[in-house]
């Protein structure tokens, strides 16, 4: 991180080599176009450079920190660009084989994500996907589906308790 903080070329290249594909995938799956995914990737690494001094390895993995930056930037964009059609969400357990290399920490996180999502019912999974990956509020989901807001809230709460429990004791939550 010291190298990134200094804007060292090798440090930036090394960070991109480890996490570039991960961040690009986040942008592509959430925003739907290669152009948007490329912009998001550049924004994430620029933000990481600006905030490098504030990364605290005792509070979480570097990969999670970068993905949180990416998710925040992507959701901001989703909410700014209302009315723009978004791609069908494709999750890692829905594709037969994921080509390309990822570092071990990413694979561990990916396993944790799959474990978390598989602990959910189909309805909970769809609900979590719409709020977390689409940036929809509970009220928007309730209005779209024509169901009581209280029901959406209860289901989201239940789902997140399961997500947390799925990885308890594995050093991820």
């Amino acid at each position: 991180m010291e190298g990134l903080l200094a804007g060292n070329d090798e440090a930036v290249r090394a960070l991109y080599a480890r996490y570039g594909r991960l961040i690009y995938s986040l942008g592509y799956r959430l925003l739907g176009t290669r152009e948007a995914a490329e912009e998001l990737t550049q924004d994430v690494f620029l933000t990481a450079w600006r905030k490098a001094a504030r990364f605290d390895p005792t509070r979480g993995r570097l990969s999670t920190w970068l993905m949180t930056i990416g998710h925040n930037l992507a959701v901001d964009r989703l909410r700014r660009e209302t009315g723009v059609s978004r791609p069908t969400l494709v999750l890692v357990d829905e594709v037969p084989d994921a080509p390309g290399l990822d570092e071990e920490a990413v694979l561990i996180e990916r396993d944790a994500a799959v474990r978390a999502l598989s602990s959910l019912t189909d309805a909970e999974r769809r609900l979590v996907a719409r709020s977390y990956f689409r940036g929809m509020t509970a009220r928007e989901i309730a209005e779209t589906d024509g169901i009581p807001l209280g029901t959406v809230k209860t289901r989201l709460r239940s789902a997140m308790i399961k997500v947390r429990k799925a990885n308890e004791g594995k050093g991820l939550v």
Binding site: A6, G7, D9, V12, R13, Y16, A17, G20, R21, L22, Y24, S25, L26, R34, E38, T41, Q42, F45, L46, W49, R50, K51, G60, S63, T64, M67, T68, G70, H71, N72, V75, D76, R79, R80, L89, V92, G100, E109, R110, A113, A116, L117, V128, S131, Y132, M136, T137, A138, R139, I141, K153, L156, R157, M160, I161, V163, R164, N167, L172, V173
Partner: protein, 267 residues
Amino acid sequence: MNCATVREGLAEHALGALLARDAATVDRHLAWCAACRKEAGELARASATLAFALAPEEPPADLGDRVLEVVQDAVARRDRRPQSSPRRSRLIAIASLAALLAVLGAGWGAVMAGRAARSDRVARLEQIRSESAVERFRDLLNSAEFGNPENEAFLGTLEPTTPGGGSGSALVLVSPSIVDLALVLVDGMPPQMRAVLPLAVRIRSDDGVLMVGRITKDEFDDSGAGIVMQEFADLDGFDTVIVRDVNGDVVMTGSLETRAALATPSP
């Protein structure tokens, strides 16, 4: 809002599924409640894991080079800035604060003039409240604790998301020995934007979002200026200001990037 009520909404808070005003209420609670903040942090880390569930996609071969260029450009811009001595940094910071206070004074004065015609009593109460906020801020600047060399100020400007959508300034004071402060001034809002008031002003870090306050119709003067200020337990890491309208749309954003130590350097 008590802890039980807040905890019922923490899952939605972690997923970003709360309405803006509800998220703000939770943020205010989290700012002072360590137990709920711990719970919120655990849920936030759990939700962050979900991002890894997205199917991988191969980026273009030259994206790494473009990422490097973007960072190199930012590094070069930083390095081109004149290097300030600690004393000069302090003077710049104090001058910026003074300028901001002057703007605040003018802004509040105009607001007060408009209100006087409506209700002397309400205007007087608001004036006392506003003046009290400025006084507290000035007291803080003049306090002995403010000389702590670990105090820092972060300044930034707010840019509209659409051309002609006004502008703004933001100031965050981070101190290990006294309360932290966030102060946001929005001005030059065009008349048509009154229809989308109140504006919700938030400040964000990687770990979450805090509500600074709402700027209502009553708090806007004729020139389209309004101010919010809030004290927090800890604003370290909060570096982005987001202003949303009544519909939840982002109308203004800004980064708090200008950083300056405020203490007088040792001889």
